[in-house]
């Protein structure tokens, strides 16, 4: 189905004051070029100025059969005939022909002469391009200015070459020095001053490649950024020509084609309807060979098939076989707003071609794809694709259809456009007809910017012409009948649609249709007219479409048409946003635009307006999808986001009318849920938050817990919410998160008893599970990753006071379930003001629970430094308020592998409780860590420097460290110095296995020396005795003998030697 709207894309028309009947018309560079019927003269009119004044007039060298303008290079290319011969000619510098009597230079392709520039003035020049075959069709590339010429069986590509200004001046100087008489003033530099010379570059072309297509007869050709399209009567072939250094030749592909053809030659094949996309297009039976003719470019050209489409005459009904002919082939580039059009190749290239009753639009880049098929209501003569509209003419109407190019470009510009953040109507959105404007006897159409140029010749219907000028009313009736017919043709009965009926009843040309150049004499005087019909700005058209859509919105907001119209309006804005950014870039290159001043500021305000309109449109599309059914309802979210509307505004827009039965749409709920889950920093007012609660309690009660836990909802009225939650519990049953949510409401109500009562309904373990299920009960923020600000909830603060163990357990559980990062947990405890207590409890608990190695090392270091800190600052009396740790040293040693059992010698070393219990606790925890397997001792050594060795407990820590680091010799010495009574316990525990030798290599000599110095020291003597026992057990008699000091008393050592010998004998 083709939607038909009756918008007003055309604002006004001017009639170009042409004296002779126009034969051919083309436009470009701000100008309209008119060739009189059968004539040899081109007249250029400015389409951008009021009344389309004549710019200049110049003679051609033969009768013009075809004319095209190239934006790049601002040249005209013609196919001309003179005396039965056909010529291809380029007209450059035509703007300098304002004075018709100026001389025109003529040169052959490649024979670039300085002739024009030598004289100081700029001269119009004609470049004649010799061809071995008769040219049939020409096309200019709008990106490069290259020229493609279609001949009988070949396509010839000419590359545009520009001589820049500097080399031009040089050559000018050379010539001046060659010819002395050029010094003299000349009357021939007439017309143009040298200042206009500045932005002129001299053009030439190079024949770079010839494509041979022996099997087809081109009727039209198109060229755009390496894409070459050729159209015959019923076929379209699109090729991509790439310049590359690879030696791959086109012969390969053509060879395979030949084989393929030979296979087919045995059968008589009637052409059938075919559509071959991408690589498959090479299976078409059209062989193409490349002949390279360029001199300069060294690279090879490679050819790939992009698209092939063949139609058969009988395929289409409604048109006779003779009439079934393709027309209006066009390649159309689009640049994204981030591209600079002058440097890059276009992001998108589209191919359009048309049959009398249907037009086809393909997207060529990034995978060939049929974008849209335009089903025309009546036979179309010509069609022109523009950025945001397709204009077609029938015999009696100018029609304009919407296009999907912007939807394709938007997706290429932003690959993430179809997400929850952004959206754009799909490329496959059905196209529609925006307007059917009646004209009489239309012959041809061309478009420049917002100007649609129409040529009408009413020679066949002269009576109708006179009727038109006299009987205005009759025409309106005729329009009505005709349009009704069109509606019926596309399956709409206006009688059943009141809106359409009322539209049809209005006079079409009444509102926005003004004749700005009402020269009735010229219209009535002859049977032809040349119109410049201006289209309204896309913004104006957008506004009308929005206005239009309101009528649908009022009658049936669910209607597809409303959504379709808004989507059309959306694409219109996107297209013009692309266009305005493009204009900024193009304004440098385009001679017509560069003349305008302050274009850029105008473009800027334009794009601001457009962006504002786009936001409005997104809001309306959001409304549309928020109310729609399940399918596509998720689009409400990205559209509302792009609209920039605050959530309260979106809620207001979705508030159901009191009388209406329907409630909140799924799209709206989807949006609201996303909003609430997304950890926004913005808080809702109590009123808005209560409304959110109502919305969900009405539409999706199961979401209430997470809704209540959402940060923006902190201002919700607790009593009201409590009632709703209570009702939920009554109907849906008890759940832990729900209970916790209710407890939170009690907390907000300052009802501590009922809060406690709630919290006691479940075991702590279950509560922990509840928190894992809904972490936002404890934590707000932090959704945006590690660095996002995270903060505790009221419930968290309460738990820190009343149930610290539960809070710690919950935090550990959240961490282990990846709901909170360590740094975020730190932030929470910092905000709770429990940095040195509950946070340490959390770390200790984490050490017990966690299995993440990296986290464990970090935590071990942290707790070690906390313990050291506590020991260093233990002098002030502990405040009574300071609570005990959740886990004692004993608990940790028993339940955490990172806390080792205290070495036995430590108990000998540590005296009885001389300090506070907290000090003792810290000491034991630190000792236990140093005795454990996990702490890296090296890392804490620098911290231990803070603790003096003077106290015995301090000494014990240093000794532990040096022992753990293997410094046994010095440890033994220090221990003997400070606490010899612990030496045997120490040696028994530490000097084992490979360290056993230290008994006799270090301990024994040390003890001997010390007892020698203080022979009455019983502690040392006892130690010596114990040592000798061990040494006697572990050494051989000879070794033992060696160890005995020379000055020792034999009787003292003899028993040990005896033991040693006996043991040895036994062994």
């Amino acid at each position: 189905m083709v939607h038909v709207y009756n918008c007003h894309p055309f604002s006004s028309q001017q009639i170009v004051q042409v004296e002779q009947e126009p034969g051919l018309v083309c436009c470009g560079g701000g100008a309209l070029f008119v060739v009189a019927t059968g004539g040899c003269k081109v007249e250029a009119y400015s389409v951008e100025k009021e009344g389309c004044p004549l710019i200049c007039r110049f003679a051609t060298m033969g009768t013009v059969k075809s004319i095209q303008h190239s934006k790049i290079g601002d040249y005209l290319v013609t196919i001309e005939e003179k005396n039965s011969a056909t010529y291809l000619r380029i007209y450059t510098n035509w703007r300098y022909q304002a004075e018709e009597k100026a001389r025109v230079g003529v040169r052959l392709l490649g024979h670039l002469l300085r002739g024009a520039s030598v004289r100081g003035g700029v001269q119009m020049e004609i470049i004649e391009i010799p061809l071995s075959e008769r040219p049939v069709a020409v096309a200019c590339c709008s990106v490069t200015g290259d020229l493609l010429v279609g001949c009988e069986n070949t396509l010839v590509l000419f590359t545009l070459r520009r001589q820049n200004q500097q080399s031009l001046n040089q050559s000018q100087q050379i010539l001046q020095s060659t010819w002395p008489n050029t010094q003299q003033s000349s009357s021939q530099s007439q017309g143009q001053t040298s200042s206009s010379n500045q932005n002129v570059s001299i053009l030439d072309f190079e024949r770079s490649v010839i494509l041979h297509l022996p099997k087809i007869k081109p009727k039209r050709v198109a060229l755009c950024g390496g894409y070459v399209a050729v159209q015959t009567e019923l076929e379209v072939l699109v090729l991509k020509l790439d310049e590359s250094s690879e030696p791959k030749t086109a012969e390969e592909s053509s060879d395979t084609n030949k084989d393929h053809l030979e296979d087919q030659a045995d059968f008589l094949l009637l052409p059938r309807h075919q559509e071959l996309l991408g690589d498959r297009a090479k299976d078409c039976d059209i062989a193409v060979t490349i002949e390279k003719t360029g001199l300069e470019d060294r690279g090879q050209y490679t050819l790939s098939y992009i698209l092939f489409r063949r139609f058969t005459p009988d395929f289409f009904q409604g048109c006779s076989v003779e009439e079934t002919q393709l027309h209006s082939l066009q390649l159309y580039p689009l640049f994204t707003s981030t591209q600079s059009a002058s440097l890059e190749e276009p992001a998108c290239v589209f191919c359009f071609f048309s049959l009398p009753n249907a037009g086809y639009l393909y997207s060529l880049k990034g995978g060939v794809e049929l974008l849209s098929v335009y089903q025309y209501p009546e036979k179309v003569l010509e069609a022109v694709l523009t950025d945001y509209l397709l204009h077609v003419i029938t015999k009696n109407a100018l029609q304009c259809f919407t296009v999907r190019c912007a939807a394709v470009t938007a997706r290429i510009e932003d690959p993430y456009i179809d997400t929850t953040m952004k959206a754009c109507p799909p490329c496959s959105l059905e196209v529609c007809a925006l307007r059917m404007q009646l004209f009489i006897g239309l012959r041809s159409v061309c478009v420049y910017g917002r100007h649609v140029i129409l040529l009408s010749t009413a020679d066949t219907d002269t009576p109708e012409e006179t009727e038109r000028t006299t009987q205005r009313r009759g025409l309106e009736l005729k329009e009505h009948t005709m349009l009704t017919g069109i509606f019926l043709a596309v399956g709409i009965d206006p009688a059943t649609t009141p809106a359409l009926e009322s539209l049809l009843s209005r006079p079409f040309l009444s509102r926005k249709w003004t004749m700005s150049s009402p020269k009735e004499t010229s219209t009535a005087g002859h049977g032809w007219n040349l119109y410049v019909v201006d289209t309204v700005s896309p913004l104006t058209l957008y506004q009308e479409m929005v206005e239009y859509s309101q009528r649908y919105a009022e009658s049936n907001p669910q209607a597809q048409s409303l959504r379709h119209l808004l989507s059309e309006a959306h694409l219109l804005l996107r297209a013009s946003l692309l266009q305005t950014s493009g204009q900024q870039q193009h304004s440098e290159g385009d001679p017509a635009v560069s003349l305008q001043t302050d274009t850029d500021t105008a473009v800027q305000t334009d794009s601001q307006e457009l962006e504002e309109a786009l936001r409005q449109n997104c809001a309306q599309l959001g409304d549309c999808f928020s109310r729609s059914g399940q399918k596509d309802c998720h689009l409400a979210l990205p559209y509302y986001r792009m609209s920039g509307l605050p959530v309260t505004e979106v809620m207001a827009r979705n508030r159901p009318v009191p009388s209406s039965p329907h409630s909140y749409g799924p799209g709206f709920l989807f949006y609201l849920k996303h909003y609430l889950f997304e950890e926004t920093e913005q808080c809702l007012s109590q009123e808005a938050a209560d409304e959110v609660i109502d919305i969900f309690s009405q539409s999706e009660p199961s979401q209430l817990v997470s809704v209540c836990a959402s940060p923006p909802m902190v201002n919700v009225s607790p009593a009201r919410t409590m009632q709703i939650l209570q009702h939920l519990e009554d109907t849906a049953g008890v759940s832990v998160p729900l209970t916790i949510t209710m407890a939170t409401m009690m907390l907000l109500l300052d009802d501590l008893p009922r809060y406690t009562q709630m919290m006691e309904r479940h075991a702590e373990m279950l509560l922990v599970y509840g928190f894992i299920e809904e972490s936002r009960l404890l934590l707000h923020g932090g959704g945006g990753g590690q660095h996002a600000h995270i903060r505790p909830t009221a419930l968290t603060r309460q738990l820190a006071k009343s149930q610290p163990g539960l809070l710690v357990a919950a935090m550990v559980a959240l961490h282990e379930n990846n709901k909170v990062q360590l740094e975020q947990a730190d932030q929470i405890f910092k905000e709770l003001g429990c940095e040195n207590c509950l946070q340490v409890d959390f770390w200790e608990a984490m050490l017990m629970a966690s299995s993440q190695e990296a986290v464990i090392q970090e935590l071990l270091f942290r707790v070690a430094s906390v313990y050291i800190d506590r020991l260093a600052n233990s002098e002030p009396p502990p405040t009574p308020s300071r609570r005990r740790s959740l886990k004692s040293a004993e608990d940790l040693i028993n339940s955490c592998i990172h806390y080792g059992a205290l070495y036995p010698w430590l108990t000998v070393l540590s005296p009885a409780q001389t300090t506070s219990s907290q000090h003792q606790e810290a000491l034991h925890k630190l000792q236990s860590l140093l005795c454990g397997p996990s702490l890296s001792v090296g890392s804490v050594v620098p911290l231990l420097e803070r603790l003096s060795e003077e106290t015995l407990w301090g000494f014990s820590l240093h000794l532990l460290c040096s022992t753990r680091r293997g410094q046994y010799d010095s440890s033994i010495e220090k221990l003997l110095d400070r606490c010899p009574q612990a030496i045997i316990a120490y040696a028994n525990h530490q000097l084992q296995d490979k360290n056993m030798v230290l008994w006799w290599q270090k301990l024994l000599p040390e003890l001997c020396n010390r007892t020698r110095a203080a022979s009455d020291n019983s502690i040392l003597l006892a130690a010596l005795k114990e040592t000798l026992v061990v040494v006697a057990m572990e050494t051989s008699p000879t070794e033992f003998l060696e160890l005995i000091p020379d000055d020792g008393t034999a009787s003292y050592f003899l028993p040990h030697l005896l033991t040693c010998s006996q043991k040895h004998l036994l062994a």
Binding site: G38, A59, S84, T86, E100, V104
Partner: protein, 201 residues
């Protein structure tokens, strides 16, 4: 003026400096400049006029007479409806070269029936007192070479200029009455090898 035959291509040939550009300027703009540049390559101007009741657009092609510009001018001989062979009455050499110019034109314009092609001979610079070529010599040459009309002109004081061009038009129109196409032309063929032409000096 909508008829295709209304555009008549007239080409001015002759040695460098005989006054081809001045003749064209005098005829089209009615101006004269004694310090005109050398013509480089090929240029043309259009002039609309009425001859014997026929409205025509005369497309006057001015060519560079100097030998070094030959390759630039010869491709544009094709399609000419009339050739104005020009010499200067104060330059005998330019007169002697007329036959070379005629040959060059006939060859490159690919004239199928050179005997009936309209040539008009112009002896320019009549205003210069020191004549080297007599009117009789010139008329004799015209008689012997196919009976071309001869005009003695002065671009400087506008003598006979308009009459010469009008005569060219009459010759063309006269031919048109007899046959549709006297010049058989094709598209310009780049592949074709041009043999060295000895006729020009």
């Amino acid at each position: 003026m909508t008829s295709k035959s209304a555009l008549l291509k007239v080409i001015l040939l002759g040695d460098g400096g005989v006054g081809k550009s001045s003749l064209m300027n005098r005829y089209v703009t009615n101006k004269f400049d004694s310090h005109l540049f050398h013509t480089i390559g090929v240029e043309f101007l259009n002039k609309e006029l009425e001859v014997d009741g026929h409205h025509v657009t005369l497309q006057i092609w001015d060519t560079a007479g100097q030998e070094r510009f030959r390759s630039l001018r010869t491709p544009f001989y094709r399609g000419s409806d009339c050739c104005l062979l020009t010499f200067s009455v104060d330059d005998g050499q330019s007169f002697h070269n007329l036959s070379n110019w005629k040959k060059e034109f006939t060859y490159y314009a690919d004239v199928k029936d050179p005997d009936n092609f309209p040539f008009v001979v112009l002896g320019n610079k009549l205003d210069v007192p020191e004549r080297q070529v007599s009117g009789e010599d010139a008329r004799q040459w015209c008689r012997e070479n196919g009976g071309h009309p001869y005009f003695e002109t002065s671009a400087k004081d506008a003598t006979n200029v308009a009459s010469a061009f009008e005569e060219a038009v009459r010759r063309i129109l006269a031919l048109d009455d007899r046959a549709d196409h006297l010049i058989h032309t094709n598209t310009v063929d780049l592949q074709r090898k041009t043999p060295p032409d000895p006729s020009c000096c």
